[in-house]
């Protein structure tokens, strides 16, 4: 039934909102009258009392003393008898239901209200609430790709490199591979006595510090068990915090998924941050472990907190995080470096994680693991990723050490081919960054667009595989100023959307400068900045210059020649030792952890 509505812009300037609302109400068959924005409260009250309005809609922004003025206005409407026949409604950006109640209005609509909610209220019907939760389905980043190599020479070089690597590792094992096998058996065995023996075998392959932690709870400095009360508090928080009206970051279905890091050290804090980020529309998270965890043989067990950077990737921690997240939220676990790569992928798979982060090349060159050890462990890890149906994402962060982009991309492509051969689903993660090699050689002197876009274009011309720039995007373009950081991140995100990639990893605005755990508001900063950027760019695209075409061709040529050189070697590990995928001049060194441990 049509309603009579008086629209009151109770503000000398800001009457845009009420005009939009008036138009919407008119379109829906209601009779509206819009007052001019310069009337005194007494005159407005008189008009309201003379006419037979069902609703008086008041629009007002808040400033110093405005709350008292609005409350007085409500009193005047009350004194004039208007409330006996009309509902009094307030609308404005900062209005919440609580504030509306405090000011004496019957209803309030704010920034987070929809026109549909207002219409439903006016028409006296229930708002179509979606209910609590995120209401989205889990996305498979790899689903639309067939991994066909379009560049035949690169495809054939990679085929050869991958075959040699797989052959090289076929008859080899390591403590890391063996531990993963034992842990897999522990998961399946029901026999407690056998479990004990298996555990003892497991500990025989671990460093003392890990055995001490697991058997005597004598943990490394800063590590302790999460208390029962902390879990109770977490569950209580999870029970209370189901989002009612979650944001959506992407403006259209083609725009990339958004991932953030979790690695405060405390799984409870990570989960708390993650739940807030979910509410703001984030699609997935990457668990980042402590750097020391990669250096020890063996993993700590239990639900553990770590008072320093990096969250321990024990089975229990991964499981707790996975179970606390919405079913649709993707979770990837970092396993690309260190001495526990296969075991971490196993635990991720068992705990229900969706992806694992593996890079045989970067793990050796930029993250300190012996190339032979990581070759053996990495191949096993990729097999496990395939077994647990977890796509694996391949971060190209060696570029941040100073490695040229074409060598990094060649490394990513080697991982892709190994993955394909082992039945896994790899994801390319080129960097969208102002990396050292780019700074020195001036590839971004003209703009930040051409070279980043060229990496995507080059990979596209080589293989039909998913692309997920990271890690995070905008690395080295952010500063301590949060607004600047949010802006820089959102520009890179827009470029990513414009190039049609599948996902991006974004940092919080204080990621590099927090001097401790990052704060939740700075996580939201970058998410909201990107939401706006996605809305802004929509289905439009950045125009690259002719330089991007040159960069694309140059990258493909240099990737080809790099792979030719790699293929000329006995196997991948020899190529890494010889610096073909990054050398000392680039700032990359073959790692030492796990040297001599492969049998």
């Amino acid at each position: 039934m049509s309603k009579r509505i008086l629209c009151v812009p109770f503000d000398p300037v800001h009457d845009v909102g009420i005009k939009i609302i008036k138009n919407e109400l008119d379109k829906n068959g209601h009779h509206t009258e819009l007052l001019s924005p310069d009337l005194s409260p007494e005159v407005i009250v008189k008009i309201a009392s003379k006419g037979n309005y069902d609703f008086i809609l008041v629009s007002r922004t808040l400033g110093y003393g405005v709350a008292e003025m609005l409350a007085r206005f409500v009193d005047m409407l009350d004194a004039a008898g208007v409330r006996e026949k009309s509902k009094i409604v307030i609308g404005g950006k900062p209005i919440t239901p609580e504030l509306a109640a405090e000011l004496g209005f019957d209803k309030g609509f704010g920034e987070h209200s929809s026109l549909e909610e207002l219409l439903a209220y006016i028409e006296g019907r229930e708002v179509k609430q979606a209910g609590t939760g995120l209401h989205r389905t889990k996305k498979d980043i790899t689903s639309k790709y067939d991994y066909r190599f379009k560049h035949t020479e690169i495809g054939s070089l990679l085929d050869s490199i991958a075959n040699k690597l797989i052959t090289f590792t076929a008859d080899k094992t390591s403590p890391g591979v063996e531990r993963a096998k034992i842990r897999a058996e522990i998961f399946t065995t029901q026999d407690e006595a056998k479990k004990k023996v298996l555990l003892s075998d497991y500990y025989s392959l671990c460093d003392e510090v890990i055995v001490e932690g697991n058997t005597k709870k004598n943990f490394v400095k800063g590590v302790r068990e999460v208390t029962a009360q902390e879990i109770i508090n977490l569950n209580s928080f999870l029970g209370r915090s189901q989002p009612l009206n979650p944001y959506k970051i992407q403006y259209n279905e083609k725009q990339p998924l958004l991932f953030k890091f979790l690695g405060s050290g405390c799984p409870i804090m990570d989960i708390t941050h993650a739940k807030v980020c979910e509410r703001y529309g984030i699609d997935g998270f990457l668990i980042i472990n402590p750097s020391w965890e990669a250096r020890y043989e063996g993993l700590l067990q239990g639900c553990l907190t770590h008072e320093n950077d990096g969250t321990i990737t024990s089975f229990e921690n991964i499981k707790l995080m996975r179970e606390s997240l919405d079913e649709s939220t993707l979770l990837t676990v970092r396993a690309h470096r260190g001495l526990n790569t296969p075991e971490t992928v196993l635990l991720a798979g068992k705990a229900g994680a969706d992806l694992a982060k593996i890079n045989l090349v970067y793990g050796s060159l930029g993250a300190g693991t012996d190339p032979v050890r990581l070759a053996v462990d990495g191949v096993e890890a990729i097999k496990l990723a395939a077994r647990y149906n977890m796509p694996f994402d391949i971060p190209g962060n060696d570029e941040l050490s100073g490695v040229p982009a074409w060598k990094t991309l060649a490394g990513l492509l080697i991982n892709v081919m190994v993955g394909i051969k082992l039945g896994a689903k790899p994801i390319l993660k080129p960097l969208f960054c102002y990396g050292p090699h780019i700074v020195i050689n001036g590839m971004m002197k003209q703009n930040f667009i051409d070279y980043n876009a060229a990496k995507v274009y080059a990979l596209r011309e080589i293989v039909n595989a998913p692309i997920w720039p990271g890690e995070p995007i905008a690395f080295m373009t952010q500063s301590e100023e949060r607004v600047q950081s949010a802006n820089a991140t959102s520009y890179h995100a827009s470029l990513a959307a414009s190039t049609g990639v599948d996902a991006i990893t974004v940092a919080s605005t204080d990621e590099a400068y927090s001097r401790g755990p990052i704060c939740i508001t700075s996580r939201i900063d970058s998410i909201r900045a990107i939401s706006d950027a996605f809305r802004f760019v929509g289905d439009a695209k950045f125009a690259t210059t002719s330089q991007a075409d040159y960069f694309t061709e140059d990258l493909i040529n240099k990737i080809t020649s790099t792979l030719r050189e790699v293929d000329s070697k006995e196997n991948l590990t020899a190529a890494i030792y010889d610096g073909l995928l990054g050398n000392k001049e680039d700032g990359a060194y073959p790692g030492k952890f796990g040297y001599g441990t492969v049998n």
Partner: protein
């Protein structure tokens, strides 16, 4: 059941603190208390200034009328006594009895009709010996139906102590006019003119512009005895046109307003002050259809100081404040954090 309202002259003048003090005092005196409010109160952080706020702690066997969303988040346990059909921006209002003490946010009826309905509910469905009604911001309008009012004032309204004392003294004067019950009660808000020849109801609720004034003046003459002005009027407009009204009446007469609250519905007390002085000068007396008692005044030296575009806590001299207020007013004044504040219970 006595009904007592707590009204603030502005936000942060100490309504919640006064209310909490009264609830605690009545609880220790074993008087069952009912509690409701015309807005929203008891939250931990102020909706506007983001400064921490005192919260409302409800003891066992307190009765409360509040909105659905406030009950969901209540820290106190309660049993439902009755649901009302009254809606607020936070859902339907229910009447409950507290079974386990705890914090509760109060968001009750926001209109005088709603407050009257809830008051009846407390009377008929609970054993409350008195009902405390929490004001909201500077809102007054629904409170005139209550029996007693406590005003809270403080530095949040004005940091000038003599200005605060003058304002409260003026409010006290407004509450000083007599009660007049010879005009029948009813929902009709039309302006009425009573003369020796009978009573006429005007076709207007308000007195805010020339049209309204023309209607009124047309009915006034030297036989006019009373003018009943129950609805909205503009203090400034009426002030500007008083002489036109007095010229028509030209003898002592009476203006009946709905309540002192109606006179106080202005942001400019200078206009009201002028109005009252002109009424007195022209032998026009003032009376009210409803008149709650101004029982006490509580004061709060706190104010949110605006600094660097945000708010911070600040205070004026509390002793000087209490001294000047006590000197200026006949109504008892209390700083509830100071000795002697318990005497307020003797007045209620």
């Amino acid at each position: 059941m006595k009904t007592i309202g707590v009204i603030g002259t502005a936000k942060n003048t100490g309504k919640t603190t006064t209310l909490s003090f009264l609830m605690k005092g009545f609880f220790s005196r074993e008087v069952p208390v009912g509690l409701t409010g015309i807005g929203y109160d008891g939250e931990d952080v102020d909706n506007i200034t983001n400064l921490p706020k005192p919260r409302l702690f409800l003891e066992e066997n307190t009765f409360a009328a509040t909105s659905e969303k406030c009950l969901i988040t209540s820290g106190a346990d309660y049993e439902l006594i009755a649901e009302t059909g009254l809606q607020t921006a936070l859902g339907k209002i229910s009447l409950v009895r507290i079974t386990k003490p705890g914090l509760m946010v109060i968001a009750g009826p926001n209109t005088k009709e709603g407050l009257a309905e809830v008051t009846d509910l407390f009377r008929n469905k609970t054993s409350a010996g008195l009902l405390l009604v929490d004001g909201s911001l500077n809102r007054l309008s629904p409170m005139y139906i209550l029996e007693k009012l406590i005003f809270t004032t403080g530095a949040s309204r004005d940091t000038n102590i003599s200005g605060l004392a003058a304002e409260m003294s003026f409010i006290e004067k407004v509450f000083g006019f007599k009660l007049n019950t010879d005009i029948p009660d009813g929902k009709e808000l039309s302006i009425k003119v009573k003369s020796s020849e009978g009573e006429t109801a005007l076709d207007t609720y308000s007195l805010v512009d020339e049209d309204d004034l023309a209607l009124l003046i047309n009915q006034l003459n030297d036989k006019t005895e009373k003018v009943y002005l129950p609805g909205l009027f503009s203090h400034r407009f009426l002030g500007k046109n008083l002489m036109k009204i007095f010229e028509r009446i030209r003898k002592p007469a009476e203006f009946v307003f709905n309540s002192p609250v109606q006179l106080l519905l202005t942001d400019e007390s200078a206009n009201l002050s002028f109005l009252l002085s002109q009424f007195a000068k022209n032998n026009i007396s003032i009376s009210y259809r409803y008149k709650p008692e101004l029982s006490a005044i509580t004061i709060n030296p706190f104010y949110p100081n605006i600094k660097n575009y945000s708010y911070e806590a600040a205070y004026i001299n509390k002793d000087e404040f209490l001294h000047q207020m006590t000197q200026a007013l006949h109504t008892p004044v209390f700083n509830i954090y100071e000795p002697g504040a318990d005497k307020i219970f003797n007045l209620l």
